[in-house]
Amino acid sequence: MSSAIALCAGSANRIFALVERHAYLMLKSWPRIVSTMYYPTVTMIMWAFVTIYLTPKSNFLSDAPGLFIGAVLLWDILFRGQLGVSLTFVEEMYSRNLGNLFVSPLRAWELIAGQLAMSILRTLIGVGGACFFAWVLFHYSIFTFGFPLIAFFVNLIVCGWAIGLAVSGMVLRWGLGAEELAWAAVFLIAPVSGVYYPIGVLPGWVQTIAHAIPTSYVFEGMRAVLLEHVFRADLFFQALAVNAVYLAAGVTLYLLAIRYAREHGMLLQMGE
């Protein structure tokens, strides 16, 4: 029993070390904090003005004026969540620190846990900043979603983690030349996620693809909350189920990439 507690304490300590390392980097650099908030805030402002422009012309938007702002903020939970995982890993490659990490007692799952923790931190800073400005500038509070916001957050960030881990694996496998994936990967699913429009407007075969993407359930759920004032638990659980598959696939790809790197001697050589 006591050895199990010691093992858990050791793991927690190593995960904390990884978070501490990236938090040192992030929190003492105001340009990094600003750049984390910059894109979500600017996008939010743009959609807020689109809303202001269209609301008098559209009954649809008059009923749910927060539709676009809510959508853009939720989308950024996914994007920041994914970036948080991928960039934490890319940062280790840039600093040629992977070798030191992998010869330390840090286990692969602890590395993953550290990346996920950093993803939450980056998401809270990035999206939190945009939410603050949405409230100050447009009197829009994301908390008007109420309890469903937690359900949306969980599903979006887990989907971001899955994509982020898969991207980390690809960057490890193909080197920093694949770094662009960290910025671009999530946009592959944007058209079929139904961020700004219902899945129903997509062609039939694209809808089939959309149903295999967890985020499509989240944004359908968001519209249900804003337009029909109901929380669709069925959509929440469907998103959760698809996310479980995605997360398992993301973790597997990442672990396979680590195994490949161990077999091909890449861990002590990786860097800029």
Partner: protein, 267 residues
Amino acid sequence: MPPSIAAFPHAVIEVRDLRKSYRRVEAVKGVSFAVRRGTTTALLGGNGAGKTTTLSMLLGVLTPTAGAIRILGEPMPERRYSVLPRINFTSPYVDLPKRLTVAENLRVYARLYGVTRPRLRVGELAEELDLVEFIDRPYGNLSAGQRTRVSLAKALLNRPEVLLLDEPTASLDPDIGDRMRTLLEGYQKRSGCTMLLASHNMGEVERMCDDVIMLRAGLVVDQGSPSALLERYGRGNMEEVFLDIARERVDPDHGASADGHAEGIVS
């Protein structure tokens, strides 16, 4: 020939028939050796001889194609997480995060290695390795010599029983190089640590090492104490022995002659 593995039943590092093949290249072709407790052993060879590949397999960051490794009595890489907290590694080719200060880097690694009271340990090492004046400066702003000392501090954080060193004094000026060697010798004297060192600095090898393992093209071509090798090859220093072996100026079946001249020197 020097004693085989069987002569060291309590070896701290034990390697048997270790092999590593990539698609078209066999980088390590069946290497066996043992390192005795509390000694320093050099792993020597030219570029591409297999030194870093062997060290990487010992550290568990490279999966062997075949063969067996035991460190501190535990099989690697199977028992990696029992072994890694008790050993450490430093190399000029692996960096620490450049934007973090020296103190931040060392505190992070102290946590990773489960060091109790990390701030105290970092303070001790800062005094010992003379890091105090730049402890709050970013690692990336340090000179090569300062960085090497910080990397050594990182390697000593967990008071390792086994220290693997990949060219620990490469790119250092003679003064800093000498200080590094003195620090390592001091640590070994105090702790009884076992060290395995890959180096191209033959003066370092003669000064620090109890045993030498010579690699060429992924094979162990000779091994023994520096004095035994000097005698066997009839040379005045390890640099000449290294050149004899690296340039294949020796017959693999050579033997030492009574007058100190190697019988197997080809050219």
